[in-house]
Assembly symmetry: C2
Homo-oligomer: 498 residues x 2
């Protein structure tokens, strides 16, 4: 085989084609497939994943990576494509195959055990699996190599370029500020009551309103669709086919509406990557954190803003049943922004959510560093909940057993959720200097915000690293102050402290 730029592109196209097939199978598995098709489908997904893995770590790929860099010196796009492939190659080829297979098997078992352990509220069932999964992750990080802290090797998988020496002080500052805000809110005399939102709201009406909001956001229905699932997600199958799903709770419309806006934000990212990158590994979001910044920007900075409901409330009421018609807009706005420390991360409000994340970050970092033992995890979890949120779980089910991530062998993923909040706030601040966001929202014109995000974030795909995007847009690196300021201003108005 002759190694040429063209043969490399053909090779990448082949990988991306298999990934398109894989993504469609994954979407179908969660939305459409009849139950008897699932077993074989899972096998087929495994088969195709293996093929992709083989292609990314093949001798052929190695030759591209060894021989092409000299040739493409003056072509930044090709250079970045090689970088991205080199990274995948390194990650995947450095772990001995047998060890990785054993890890995958263990992880799959641990996920099953986790379901059982959570149901039985028995952490000791899961503990031996977690111990092994931690050890695997420690070894993987050693194989990959890292700077300073072993946890950095894991973090880099999800947020390339980010390290604990950046994250630690940022999370400390954020934690401090959020805990202070939580206390102020708890001491506030203002009563915010979200239970007034819990009226029956038929699914088809929720869907119609969700579709109208997606449409206003600029989600392109000629390049996507909205379906129903248990766990909502967005998935880019190809650049003209980026699908979102949502879940309808007929007794709490917030699940579907905010879920749709959130996934819509992810989808706008994938729909608006430069088409020049189609069928290459650059046609993806650049990191989990930046991806999450897009979903959270739309969900919170737009979807939970006062301006948004001022402009959408009439439309909302036109879909909503009788029981909603007497809720004043100002009460409604406060109710969807109620802050209340709670045990479960995925039910947390905009303000306390990052505290849940920081707890997980601190714990998983300590596990990987070796300064915390798995057996001490439940106690450590509860202590941190009490310290940061002022509430102490009484069972592990509402504590350390609530998330699947660790049982799934994922360490280093959690912080990206909180990064998304901070990035979103930084982007929001930068955007505000150029666009009067509330005014645009109130005139029902969402186009400028979407265009701005496309210009500064979406179109670049993986051409830019996450912190490069943030730096280019804001002139500085990761900075928690914009999120802190935004939350302080917003909730000061709602909870009216001095």
């Amino acid at each position: 085989m002759t190694v040429t730029v063209q043969s490399f592109k053909d090779y990448l196209k082949k990988i991306k084609s298999y990934e398109e097939a894989l993504n469609l199978m994954a979407w179908d598995l969660r939305t459409m497939i009849p139950k008897k098709g699932m077993d074989q489908r899972s096998e087929v997904i495994g088969q195709l994943s293996e093929t992709i893995h083989t292609l990314k770590t093949s001798e052929e790929m190695k030759r591209f990576l060894d021989e092409l860099p000299a040739e493409v010196e003056s072509d930044p796009v090709m250079k970045q494509m090689l970088n991205v492939c080199q990274k995948d190659y390194d990650r995947d080829s450095k772990i001995p195959t047998a060890e990785y297979t054993a890890f995958v098997t263990l992880r799959s078992k641990a996920e099953t055990v986790w379901q059982d352990a959570r149901e039985k509220n028995d952490f000791s069932m899961l503990a031996p699996y977690l111990e092994q999964l931690v050890e695997y992750n420690q070894r993987f990080s050693e194989y990959w190599g890292y700077k300073d802290n072993r946890y950095n090797g894991l973090l880099d998988q999800y947020e390339p370029g980010l390290t604990t020496d950046v994250l630690d002080p940022v999370f400390d500052e954020l934690k401090q500020a959020l805990s202070t805000l939580v206390k102020k809110i708890q001491q506030s005399d203002v009563e915010v009551d979200s239970s007034q939102l819990l009226h029956y709201f038929p699914k088809d009406k929720q869907q119609a309103f969700s579709l109208s909001v997606l449409d206003k956001m600029g989600y392109d229905f000629d390049a996507g669709r909205l379906d129903e699932t248990i766990h909502p997600f967005a998935i880019g199958i190809n650049q003209g086919d980026v699908r979102v799903t949502t879940r309808y709770d007929e007794h709490d419309f917030r699940t579907a509406i905010f879920g749709t806006i959130h996934e819509g934000g992810h989808a706008l990212y994938e729909q608006n990557i430069d088409s020049e990158f189609a069928l290459t590994p650059l046609a993806e979001g650049t990191s989990m954190g930046i991806h999450e910044s897009q979903s959270l920007f739309w969900e919170n900075f737009i979807g939970r803003s006062e301006a948004f409901w001022k402009s959408q409330y009439r439309s909302f009421l036109s879909f909503a049943p009788e029981a909603f018609q007497t809720i004043e807009l100002s009460d409604f706005y406060r109710a969807i922004n109620e802050v209340k420390p709670s045990y479960i991360r995925i039910e947390a409000d905009e303000l306390t959510y990052s505290l849940h994340i920081i707890i997980r970050y601190e714990l998983e970092k300590a596990l990987i560093e070796g300064s915390l033992k798995v057996k001490d995890l439940p106690e450590a979890w509860n202590d941190k909940m009490e310290s940061y949120l002022g509430i102490r779980p009484t069972t592990d089910r509402e504590g350390v057993l609530q998330d699947i991530h660790w049982a799934g062998g994922d360490f280093g993923y959690f912080p990206t959720y909180a990064l998304g909040y901070m990035y979103a706030a930084q982007l929001h601040e930068a955007m505000s200097k150029q666009i009067n966001i509330p005014m645009m929202i109130q005139t029902n014109d969402f186009e400028p915000m979407k265009e701005w995000l496309t210009e500064h974030v979406h179109r670049h795909g993986r051409m830019k690293e996450p912190l490069e995007i943030i730096n280019d847009v804001t002139g500085e690196g990761l900075n928690p102050n914009y999120l802190i300021n935004y939350l302080t201003e917003k909730y000061q108005v709602i909870y009216q402290w001095n």
Copy 2:
């Protein structure tokens, strides 16, 4: 690589996994995909098809085919797997790659030209493409090799083991008999009027009735689903996931109801192949003709029978709008069985349909043999229509330009539609000896028919060749008399000739 039975099975599993991905992409392309996703999807489908083609004709496959037969002498299933793979290998490896690629490109162009030519009613636009496509098919058949007639090489792709020396006399007999029946019906005094069925019938109600019929047929909804498309189809994605689609015409319910039953018949076949064959090439229908026999058995022998409507009419009326409530069952039954020679194949009734097929068979065989020129095709078409059906098309749009098959490079496919009718009649006759079909239908018990078909047809997958199935069940080969007798008896009752 060591060639072992296990490595062969793994290899087949890999091929089948890619085929599952490909089938899901094909289903999605016709049901779910947003329009901007189609271009890249088509490319990806091409990429995956190429991968499958490469796997089926690889050096590795050749080694399996060369080295394994001695080892599996006593294992009939493995032997048949090797047979089937050998066949694919021969077909795909004998055509020079460059020539096949040129053919695929030409075919794709010709399909586009065909759409235009049909719209403009201008056969001369398509003729030069057809000439080349005929030449390609002639050469392909030479590459593959054939017995007696060059057309047999093509026919064998779709109906393994069938040849023109069997088909010619069978079609002659059938043609004769059907033409006679058509004349008797035209001379009959009985007025059958299907226009009384053309009332508005809302889509959701048609769907509900269609679902109820699929359910009664024994279609397993835990292993499939019903969706909407422009061109209905059934597709086996895996054995626990066999999907059907239908089209709803709100002004003619027959499209959806009989379309659903037809596709449901195809789906029952794929749902009931022995699970022992999963992830091997035996887990498919054995031929186009046998597949069509299953769809037509359910659509016509069950779905258009008097017994069926006696048992289902009350249910039908419960979904149907007011305007249907005054139609007497006997009128309804006659109306759905109206016979009327018409120009368009896909709108033809049960009786004249096979005449449309025989015309195409005779013409395409003459083209491949070289005794008919493409330029003479429209005239030859119209002559045969007049001779067999008593009507002469006045435009090529309602004549030779109506089907996409030839523009798509498919020669040898058409006869399988009529084979399906004859096989279905033969199976129906054999089944009738063991099961009182009308009585079962009238007691709403469809299980015995489904079980019988599973036992004799479905479960075998590609373990048996088509004529082997027919022989094993009926004790004889292809025989048109059962279809002729069935149609004669049925329509004599409806049209009451002497």
